[in-house]
Symmetry: C2
DNA sequence: CGCGAAATTGACTATATTCAAAGCTAGTGG
DNA sequence: CCACTAGCTTTGAATATAGTCAATTTCGCG
């Protein structure tokens, strides 16, 4: 059946059905795989849906599988013994989740929105990495990007004011989730994938401080918020300047 | 000549002389190279000494070469336009410096101590990565470790008090530079590779706050400091607990 | 409509910053 | 060898920013 139909995108007709619409195949690590390899890997993968708020794996869990995010956003968190928490990363489709070549994870992974992931068993994934240098190369590139992101965020955590932190957060989301507003102007809209408590944990602030800064940005006409979670950025230029400390 | 002598460590006698005593060969990315490959790579490398305080490469420089740290410690920094600065990483021998597969760097690299590095030209290094999957694998492992380190430090920056930050910094140094004190007790000593201003930039604090917390740790008999830069940790257990927020 | 969770707002407090002054330390030259 | 300087570091006092605690308001959902 698949062989008879013309492929709209001109790609190999043999790629697995579940991969065909998967962003990870086009922009994630699976891009490095040939169709035959994709087919083989997909034989041992499975899709899993995770509800918003559920934990995918706990800090210091044993590593037993890896995954690509197919849909949604996840947060990576670390906690101190007394409960203080820090979100150390937000990841969106089609990024890779997991800590290859390790026995233990060092972060908790939690679904920030409703999430769909494509799960690889540890052994099969690592075999694939070993056999296909391009695959590992791709993973290296993603890891380098994540390292860059982490270091940029360190500047936010260490050196920015509460106001600048909140602005930085909104700019980050706009870049990852933002859609041009239907009104046709250059306003950008998105739905917050995190509640205030999580935003606070991401920014190293308290809920109250986040709330106050949001209010201030609203009063300054940089953003608009509807029902606590739908954000419209009214002036991206000024918001970016604020985020960058100008 | 080299062939006639028995090798004390039983290793291939053909490794380049400069690599023979280099920590990167045993613990860094060069560990992944066979002696023939090491020989080839070393043909295009050169050693360079950099004085404490000198900048090795600037943020947003074009990437033209990579390097291994042979001796000493370097700091990776990012700055905001108004001059606020954040150190986003400290690296010690035999770690790798550089941003592979990129046009531009995203951090400044500066010698924290007097430093010796082993420089690879961009093209040759990337060719080696491409030809030798083990080499790239090793780089991936180092990058994953750096990502982990960065994320751990994000907790320090976002969620710890000034006191805990300074304790965390001292524990970090003890792990990387510490030597058991000559007195034979379980005290650990090292020389600070950073002055107060840099420590402040690493911890997201001011000079004065760092100084006050150091004084407090000294008064609490957790550490001792001689001549502003020689630190002895008197009670590692308590210092670690403090750093971890217990 | 009414309930519980989440977010906002207000008043007060604490922690770290800022500004200012004085103390060390290492290196230089008399 | 000592005095002097320049650059760091420490210390102190006042201030500001974000945190804490508490009260309301808003939102989402049965």
């Amino acid at each position: 059946m698949s062989g008879a139909l013309p492929q709209s995108d001109g790609e190999d007709a043999n790629i697995p059905a579940s991969c065909r619409v998967c962003g990870a195949r086009r922009f994630g690590i699976c891009k490095a795989l040939k169709s035959s390899e994709l087919l083989r890997l997909s034989a041992s993968t499975r899709r899993r849906k995770i509800e918003h708020g559920d934990t995918i794996s706990f800090e210091e869990d044993e590593v037993v599988e890896y995954a690509n995010i197919v849909e949604g956003a996840v947060k990576l968190t670390k906690i101190l013994k007394d409960g203080r928490q820090q979100i150390v990363g937000l990841q969106f489709a089609p990024e890779f989740i997991g800590k290859p070549f390790s026995e233990m994870t060092t972060v908790s992974v939690e679904a920030a929105t409703d999430v769909e992931i494509c799960v690889f068993p540890k052994a099969e994934f690592e075999r694939m990495l070993h056999q296909e240098p391009n695959f590992e190369h791709r993973l290296l590139e993603q890891t380098l990007t994540q390292l860059d992101d982490a270091r940029s965020w360190m500047v936010t955590l260490g050196r920015k004011t509460a106001q600048e932190k909140v602005a930085s957060f909104l700019v980050l989301l706009a870049n990852n989730l933002g859609r041009l507003n239907t009104s046709g102007s250059n306003m950008i809209s998105f739905t917050l994938p995190l509640k205030r408590a999580d935003i606070a944990d991401f920014l190293g602030l308290t809920i109250e401080t986040v709330s106050r800064q949001m209010t201030r940005l609203r009063k300054d006409k940089l953003i608009d918020i509807q029902r606590n979670l739908d954000v419209t950025i009214l002036d991206m230029r000024r918001l970016k300047d604020l985020a960058d400390g100008n």
